[in-house]
Structure formats: C-alpha cells, structure tokens
C-alpha cells in the first residue's frame, strides 16, 4: 500500500476539505492508500507525556511516507514549523505542495506579524523556500478534482500528466496575478479566452476589451490564473479527445 500523509503547516485545512469533498472518490483513494498521518482525521500518532509541571503533546511525522501532501506555508519564526517541514522532507519520497499557501505562499504572503499571542510570527514562505518540493498544485483551495487527478497520477506513476506540477514546484513560488500580465499579455500570447478570470477564486480578474485586467489589491497570489492559462502551458495530454 502506498503510504500517504497529510501534513498541516500554516494552512486553513481548506485543502484537506477540498480533498474530502470528493465523497465517494475519497473512499476509492483511501481504499488504494494507507493514510499514515493526518492530524485532522486520525490521532493515533500523537504521543502524550505527562511530567510534574506540564503535559507534552508530540505529534510524530512517521517515517517511510510515499506521498506527503503538505498544506500551508512555513512560519520561519516558529521552530516547530521548521522541524516539521524538514522532517517531512526527510521522511517522504514525494512531497506535494498542496494548494496556494504551500506552493506560493498564498494569502500568508501578506502576513507581517504584530498579532497576539505571537506578535513575532511575521515571516511565512512557501515550503519550497525551505525544502525541495516535487509537485505543486495551485489553488485556494485546489479543486477537488485536481487533487484526485494528481493523487491518482502519482499512484499510477503517470509522469506525463504530472509534468506541469513538477514545473510549478520549480518555478511557481512567486505566483501572482502578474503572471498573466508578464507571461501572457506582455509576451503577445493572450488571445482573450477568459479562463484566468473564471479560474480566479477571488474574482480579481475582469475581462476588459477581451484581455484580463488584474485587480492586484484583491489578488491572493494563489497561482491559479497562470497555471490555467493555455497560452503558457498546453500539455500534450490535453490534445487527446474521444
């Protein structure tokens, strides 16, 4: 059985909820894998040590993980967080940055500290800034279907399908609405299909006179617009129709 873990960094659990949103497909996936770690769904890996003055709760990220689905970014000001992500990398064959926060920082890009009870927690980065990431799936959250597709492709070793996600893991850490300006409009590639506008989960893109207009104040740097644009990436597998 393939050993899958869900690692929760500075995320909102929305990515995991999106996975759970597959209903019966989730059961298929869970039937095909062994979920070895997921704090939200199972607690058997928690170790509780009681001493005289405190109760220590330790959640151990298991060894020999095949696929680690990591949700959330890394808070550089929180050493637990750093330990967790380093352990995850050490213990996992494939690390997937699941969702915008893990892949490109997402909404946590805007974090700047100053809030109780840890006003010093101000620095948040995509996990790829700290460890090597194999696959990154943008979205806030990524759609249910895209999570299933990615997991199934990973289970089947369908590297052709996964190639775009491997590229986003390498180059996608700075994702922003500017991607479609710089990479598509400015490169004379935008033909005005409107996919980016439809994909944007916060409606930060308006199509004006047939071209996307990015309202940067709304953009949460989720990376979905650039990832969905067929004029940046048009994988060969898309060309097969039946």
């Amino acid at each position: 059985m393939v050993r899958v873990a869900h690692i929760h960094m500075s995320g909102c659990t929305g990515c995991l909820i999106s996975l759970a949103d597959t209903y019966e497909k989730l059961l298929d996936i869970l039937g095909a894998v062994e979920l070895v770690y997921a704090l939200t769904l199972s607690d058997e890996k928690t170790e509780i040590t009681e001493t005289n003055d405190k109760i220590l709760i330790e959640r151990k990220i298991p060894e020999n993980i095949d696929i680690a689905l990591v949700e959330g970014s890394v808070c550089l000001d929180d050493h637990h967080s750093l330990d967790d992500i380093l352990t995850t990398r050490k213990n996992s064959k494939i690390v997937v940055a699941l969702g915008a926060c893990a892949a490109s920082g997402g909404v946590t890009r805007f974090a700047r500290g100053g809030q109780m009870s840890q006003p010093s927690h101000s620095a948040f980065v995509p996990i790829g800034d700290v460890i090597k990431v194999d696959l990154a799936l943008p979205g806030c959250p990524p759609s249910t279907e895209s999570i299933v597709n990615l997991i199934m492709a990973a289970l089947n070793g369908d590297m052709e399908y996964l190639e775009p996600f491997a590229e986003i893991a390498k180059y996608g850490k700075d994702a922003c609405g500017c991607d479609v300006i710089k990479g598509v409009i400015d490169m004379s590639l935008c033909m005005g299909c409107g996919t980016c506008a439809s994909a944007c989960q916060v409606k930060a893109i308006d199509m004006i006179d047939g071209k996307p207009n990015i309202m940067t104040e709304f953009c949460i740097k989720c990376g979905v617009c650039g990832a969905q644009c067929p004029r940046i990436r048009f994988p060969k597998v898309v060309q097969k129709i039946e």
């Binding site: 759609s143 590639l189 033909m191 299909c193 506008a197 994909a199 199509m207 989720c222 597998v237 898309v238």
Partner: protein, 282 residues
C-alpha cells in the same frame, strides 16, 4: 501537417428552422444545437457571445431559445466565453452546460477539464463543447476601425459581419452592404492569433464553419462520441438537414487549404519567436 485534427465524420448541414437560419451566420448549427439542447433537456444552459450595443460581443449565460437567437451570428472580436463558465455552474447552478468557442477557447476548455485547478465541480457539468472555425480575430477597437473607417458604417447600425471570398463584409440594418479588402484588415488582427495552430476547433465535440459548404450551409466536423450522439439525436428530431460533405462544393479541399495556410504561416511565427528567445505555448 494534419489539417483537421481527430474527427469521426464531416458533413455539410443546416438548421431546418427558418427562424434560426434567418438570424444565424451560416447554417445555424450552433444556435440549432443550443436550442435543441435546451428544448430537449440535454442542456440546461448555454454560453453565448451576446450581441450588445455597438455590435460588441459579451459572454453571457442564457437559458432560453430567444436569448440564443439574440446572440446568433459572428462577431469578429474577442468574446471571452470561458470567463463565465464557473459562474454558469455556481451562480446559475447549471448541471448541463453548452459552450461555444473559437479553437483557442476550446483548447482552454479541454485544458481546464484535464487540469481543473481553479475549477471545482465544473468539468462534469460541461455537456457539450461546440467549436467554430477561426482564421484570426480582432480586438474590439480593431473591428470598429474596419467597420467605421474602412466600410463607413457606424457600429450601432451593424446588422451582420462576415469574412468570405477575400473580403470583410459589413451589412447595415438599413440594407447597405460594404466590403473591405482583407489586406486592409491585417494590421488590426490580434497578434496573439499569429501563434495559433488550430483552424477547425480540433478539440471540440462538434466544430463548424462556413468554409467548404455553399452559402447558408455549414461544414461540420463530428469529433467525439458525445458529439456524434448529439448530432444523431438532432438529425432524428428533424432539426438538422444534412448532406455528405463529398456532395457539396467546394468541400473539404478548401477547408484543408485554408487550414494548412494558417498552420504553415503561424508555425513560421512560432519559429521566429523561438529564435528571439520569446516564450511560446508548450
């Protein structure tokens, strides 16, 4: 070079409903498919390029035959039809969406079906993908310059536009017919069209255009199983009249010629951009 992409069958066809033919660009295949779908329940909503004031094209989600007819006809300007796809399944709660698009838009739809990162619960709601042939498109201001400055017709007075027989045709509501030589329109083309390697909407379920068939008829490629079942139902219901493509003039030969012209020209442009170190879709 493969001119047409995958297809099961090519035919020449037109709608049998006179009201559709009256408003449509060519054989009314798109409007007839939409209307048939809405009336039979195969579709519960469709996306059109609505005709708005000043002959502007604006994507719209519609659910009635009247609205489909109101949007019939070609607008030679960008209508970002995919931009309202997610709204169709969210705000309109549609379960069986029909969508029409130029080849590039159909490519975008196929990509978002295979890689639906920002499209939760959307791909399973797309019931029919219709494609229209496309040589190139124009930004709105470009179309306006052609129509107003070259053809001398005001945008608010435009009834229909068409590209055919080497000319850009403008028909006014008062019955005027003006033409503009295509060479005068080239400078207004959307430049991103020059890297486009698809003429006949190769990834649609059904794609259609005017080229290859006589006036008032359409050339139709039936590409997928879904498309084939859909067309068969339409023919059975008597909403489409069809002919073998081999029986009509000029037939597929002309479609092939134009398709290859487009692909060869744009392949050069792709090569040129690569030489300059500029990115191209890959």
């Amino acid at each position: 070079m493969d001119p047409f992409g995958t297809y099961n069958k090519a035919i020449s066809a037109r709608a049998t409903d006179k009201a559709i033919l009256k408003k449509s660009q060519d054989g009314g295949i798109i409007s007839a498919s939409y209307i048939y779908g809405l009336e039979s329940g195969l579709l519960d909503g469709v996306i059109v390029a609505n005709t708005e004031k000043g002959f502007k094209a604006v994507p719209k989600i519609v659910t009635t035959p009247e609205e489909v007819l109101n949007a019939a006809g070609t607008k030679y300007t960008i209508s970002p039809n995919v931009s309202v796809l997610k709204d169709a399944v969210r705000e309109y709660a549609l379960e069986k969406v029909g969508i029409v698009g130029t080849p590039c838009q159909v490519q975008a739809i196929r990509k978002l079906i295979k890689y639906p990162m920002g499209f939760r619960h959307t791909d399973s709601k797309i019931a029919l993908i219709l494609g229209i042939f496309c040589m190139e498109n124009f930004p709105y201001e470009g179309m306006k310059a052609i129509v107003e400055q070259y053809a001398g017709i005001r945008m608010n007075d435009v009834l229909k536009t068409d590209i055919g027989k080497g000319k850009f045709w403008v028909y006014s509501k008062s019955g005027e017919v003006k033409t503009v030589a295509l060479k005068d329109t080239h400078m207004y083309e959307q430049k991103s069209c020059h890297v486009c390697m698809d003429y006949t909407a190769e990834l649609a379920d059904i794609s259609t255009g005017s080229v290859g068939s006589p006036d008032g008829w359409s050339t139709v490629f039936i590409r997928t199983k879904n498309g084939e079942e859909y067309i068969n139902k339409m023919v059975e219901a008597g909403v489409l009249e069809t002919k073998q493509i081999e029986e009509v003039k000029p037939g597929l030969e002309l479609v092939q010629k134009l398709s290859l012209q487009k692909k060869e020209k744009n392949e050069k442009e792709l090569g040129h951009r690569k030489e300059l170190g500029l990115p191209i879709p890959y």
